[in-house]
């Protein structure tokens, strides 16, 4: 399951670098595409604006098949307060841009699973796949607007993972 989560993150991260190379974040002194996995980072007191944060929530495993089919729900959270140059009045436009970025980085909707237990990561036999994002409504908190989108990521647990 962890391989699927990591593969999904890398797929989105690599796509984001193509779709919008300007959306970056600076974390621990390293600039990288503006997407991160909440459980892989230190707990922070503040959330970073204008980036995507992946949070893994629900899990189900269908064992009625030759290989267990794992469904993991990934909540993707993002927020913005606009730019100071525009007095924050462009926050709606920036959120829409993030909506568009997210839709694009979720394509293609599958990726070859990577085994991150070994170094370097090795290609596995199956592909994970996911549906389109289900977007929640915009939440407004003072001058901040945010949204959460959910994606269900499906993967087969291969023999080496069982």
């Amino acid at each position: 399951m962890e391989n699927a989560r990591n593969t999904f993150y890398l797929a989105l991260r690599n796509q984001l670098a193509v779709v919008n190379p300007l959306r970056v974040l600076l974390l621990r002194g390293v600039e990288r595409p503006g997407i991160m996995v909440e459980e892989n980072e230190s707990a922070v007191a503040f959330a970073i604006p204008n980036v995507f944060v992946l949070r893994w929530t629900k899990l189900s495993i269908d064992t009625q098949h030759a290989l267990p089919l794992v469904a993991q729900v990934c909540e993707i959270l993002y927020w913005t307060e606009g730019t100071s140059a525009n007095g924050g009045l462009d926050r709606g436009r920036l959120l829409s841009a993030m909506d568009a970025d997210l839709s694009q980085i979720l394509v293609p909707r599958n990726a070859l699973k990577q085994n991150f237990i070994v170094t370097p990561p090795a290609a596995m036999a199956t592909r994970l796949f996911w549906n389109g994002a289900a977007f929640d409504g915009v939440v407004t908190t003072k001058n901040r607007i945010s949204r959460m989108a959910s994606v269900t990521v499906y993967s087969y647990e291969e023999a080496v993972e069982l």
């Binding site: 009625q64 030759a66 549906n131 269900t152």
Partner: protein, 331 residues
């Protein structure tokens, strides 16, 4: 002095199961010899390691079996009163959906000739079930590692045509014979050489003797799964394939021996053995929604059971149902 073991059985708890698994056995069509499941060997049947020669076809959904047997009364007198009963008709059908898409499941569910899509020769004309194929490679029976069901020795020149992951078909050249063809499994019936254009690759086009190359060694092709026909016979050749194609239409009807296994939650098991099943529908699919718009597509399958003569008492039989009770239950 050892303490004698005492079993205090409980009443039967009924049969609770989650799913059904199916196994394939070939029917030799020329000799009309099915693969028989011996219930006396059923105890200890491992679903993940089935007894030879059964081949695992995986879990299935929507398993339904029906008996078309009709028993009617024979009446006499006035008023007419049933005095006896006789079996008027006998028969059985089975339907389910294969979860797995494989050569075997596609072929059995499709019912008709099932083609391997041979890698074509350059410049060939298009054909629905695959055009003229490239040249097949001769299997060698020399080398430090013997050719076997999982190892095919080839010349170094021929080996260069394969890579890990390639799908292959292994069988003999077509030499103009008529009748059933195919190693281990009767895959098609040839009425005349003309009907198959005397295609030397025809048998490999329909054979069930397929596998995937796991590794190309210095000597041959190491296969990821054993060939259904076992160690290749002298004269068999290997040919790369791209996939499989079945057709709506065709005259041939596949026949197979089936074993359906239901493992109970209490350690009991039910086995349904149909020695002869023939498809009674063409290729079809059914789907279950994974999450809109994603669907899992399964192979619909419906079969009519044909009888065999049970050697025990010479009765015509369509299906054998075996129940192995849970340990420590009354029977």
């Amino acid at each position: 002095m050892s303490t004698p073991m005492i079993v205090s059985p409980i009443v039967s708890t009924g049969f609770v199961k989650c799913r059904v698994r199916v196994y394939f056995g070939p029917v030799n069509r020329a000799t009309e010899m099915p693969t028989l499941f011996d219930a006396s060997l059923a105890n200890g049947f491992q679903t993940n390691a089935p007894l030879s020669p059964w081949i695992d076809l995986g879990w299935i959904d929507n398993f339904q079996r029906k008996s078309s047997a009709k028993i009617t009364g024979v009446s006499s007198g006035a008023p007419s009163i049933a005095q006896y009963q006789v079996r008027q008709t006998a028969g059985a059908t089975v339907s389910f959906a294969f979860q797995q898409w494989t050569k075997l499941t596609m072929a059995l569910a499709g019912g008709s000739e099932h083609m391997n899509v041979l890698v074509p020769a350059a410049g060939g004309a298009a054909s629905g079930s695959g055009g003229i194929a490239g040249v097949a490679q001769t299997i060698l029976f020399t080398g430090t590692t013997a050719t076997s069901a999982t190892m095919l020795n080839l010349s170094s020149t021929d080996l260069a045509k394969y890579s890990a992951g390639t799908l292959i078909a292994v069988d003999a050249d077509y030499l103009g014979q008529v009748g059933f063809v195919g190693a281990a499994v009767s895959a098609a019936y040839i009425k005349s050489a003309l009907s198959v254009n005397s295609d030397p690759d025809y048998v490999r086009r329909v054979t069930f003797n397929v596998a995937r190359v796991e590794q190309v060694t210095a000597q041959g092709l190491q296969l990821a799964q054993p060939l259904i026909a076992g160690t290749p016979a002298v004269g068999m050749k290997v040919q790369p394939i791209l996939g499989f194609v079945d057709r709506e239409g065709g005259a041939f009807i596949q026949e197979w021996s089936a074993l359906f296994v239901m493992s109970g939650e209490q350690g009991d098991a039910v086995f349904f053995h149909y020695p002869r099943l023939q498809a009674m529908e063409g290729p079809a699919e059914e789907s279950t929604v994974l999450q809109e718009p994603m669907e899992r597509l399964m192979l619909s399958a419906a079969f009519r059971a044909l009888p065999i003569i049970d050697a025990t008492d010479s009765q015509q039989v369509f299906c054998f149902r075996t129940y192995v009770p849970a340990p420590a239950t009354t029977v």
